[in-house]
Symmetry: C2
Subunit: 295 residues, 2 copies
């Protein structure tokens, strides 16, 4: 019987770990917030007091924490995974973090006889709760096959993109497209309103042609109805765009559109909108158009 570990029990990690538990697996859990650990323990998980302890007791260790430094701390910090892990174990990092850092982490673990997969998800809290996440995997095919039964308990659309880091690269690429498509739709619909045409009719006409996108459909609809409750928060979109822009700098490429999108999100944050849905980017463009010079 494979012993599982799950580190990071936030709004994503908690339901994901629960799906593993409900399927009958033994899951060793840890989080810096002890209440989260207790909650999972009350559902049958084995409470641990550190990432190191999870690693000592598990063969497969899932990680779901906010950002690159958090994964680094979980893996290689004091009382981290590296201090407790056995050769032959597998680390599956489902956080959304830097593809470049991920390659480094995989190399360090490999030197310890530990295989790693990066497996960031999309689908958000609802996807985590309903086990309908899309999972973008980087790592060795045979390792991915081995972990697939667990992925299938948490998600639906599981794609092996390539080697270590490539899952994270795919996630970043996804977030670049999402942010810029939201900008496309926001600029077009604001233009339409200002020009005095009906944005609902324009959206409908555009959905039938080259401008069609899932974002025009869904986020376009949210913009028209001004429903900015998340959904996917600007807070998280900004974290992912930060990964894009930092990685671009390291890799030697320039992403002018992504940079503008990030700055427009900054402007919405300046309005107090950090926890609004990312479709609220349109509020930044509206501020640019409507804010008046004060005397």
């Amino acid at each position: 019987m494979t012993n599982l570990g799950f580190i990071g029990l936030g709004i994503m990690g908690k339901p994901m770990a629960s799906h593993l538990l409900v399927a009958g697996h033994t899951v060793h859990v840890y989080d810096v917030v002890s209440e989260a650990v207790q909650e999972l323990a009350s559902k049958g998980a084995v409470a641990c007091s550190s990432s190191k302890e999870v690693a000592q007791k598990s063969d497969v260790i899932f990680i779901m924490v906010p950002d690159t430094p958090d994964v680094e701390a979980v893996l290689f910090g004091k009382d981290g995974v590296a201090e407790g892990i056995k050769a032959g174990s597998i680390v599956v990092d489902m956080s959304s973090i830097s593809p470049i850092a991920t390659k480094g982490f995989a190399k360090k673990l490999d030197a310890m006889g530990v295989k790693m997969l990066d497996a960031p998800v999309s689908g958000g809290q609802v996807g985590a709760e309903k086990a309908t996440l899309s999972i973008m995997v980087g790592g060795q095919p045979e390792v991915c096959e081995q972990i697939k039964p667990y992925f299938e308990l948490m998600g639906k659309n599981i794609v092996l993109i390539g080697g270590n880091g490539d899952g994270q690269t795919c996630k970043v690429a996804n977030q670049i497209v999402v942010a810029l498509t939201i900008e496309a739709v926001s600029e077009a619909l604001l233009f339409t309103s200002k020009a005095g045409a009906d944005p609902a009719k324009v959206r409908e006409a555009l959905l039938g042609g080259w401008a069609q996108s899932r974002i025009l459909d869904l986020h376009g609809g949210r913009i028209l109805e001004r429903k900015f409750a998340p959904g996917f928060r600007i807070r998280h979109q900004q974290k992912d765009l930060n990964l894009a822009l930092q990685s671009a700098r390291s890799l030697g490429l320039s992403l002018p559109g992504t940079a503008i999108a990030q700055e427009l999100f900054n402007a919405v944050v300046a309005q107090g909108g950090i926890d609004l849905d990312h479709s609220a980017m349109v509020l930044a463009l509206e501020a640019l158009a409507n804010h008046k010079v004060s005397e």
Copy 2:
């Protein structure tokens, strides 16, 4: 029997006017290029020597010329439509021009007892030849109904967006979305390559999620295969983005993403790519990433 007129017999206007002819209508034609007039006349059209003459002989006058100043010249210039037109005639401008100027043209014609529709199209040369254009109409519903039988000879997806100018507004909105979505896909796929992952696999994975768009599918495919034969030329995309940016300035709004997209197209033009497909925007991003400092 309604007498038709068609002014502007370029790569779009020629096949569009031909569809009207083939359906058995009497079509009076004019173009500044007399060879184009002769070609249509050899197919049965009535050759005219000015826009004024077309207007004198026609009840419904279609216009398909490159840009706002061309439409202005056709309508109100020397030997223009306004000099020959009868009250009760209808002007149908199928060019892609400024929505703001369009409203002014419609007002001036209205004062002469002439109704106008703006009816820009998307679908390009192929759409014009196959009579599968999408037509975005602005004007009065009863006038649109009256002209619909002719639209149906030239296109398939005919949508009345609103009053005068709203068809042009919809076309501009479409082009904003198209340009920015191409930028989204270009930045994401270049990021993917530079990060060492397989852009074909990433595109495929993204098509299954929030990043899905018709542009990701089609233009993404072109970018991967480096097939930059047009399709839709950067030359024409730039004209349409210019309409967006000029109109935005007049209307009092700011389109930072559209501006960046236009500048990236400028960079492809600097490389000699003005007649490449608009998916070649990726060449500008590649230049930003790959061009080396010379000593």
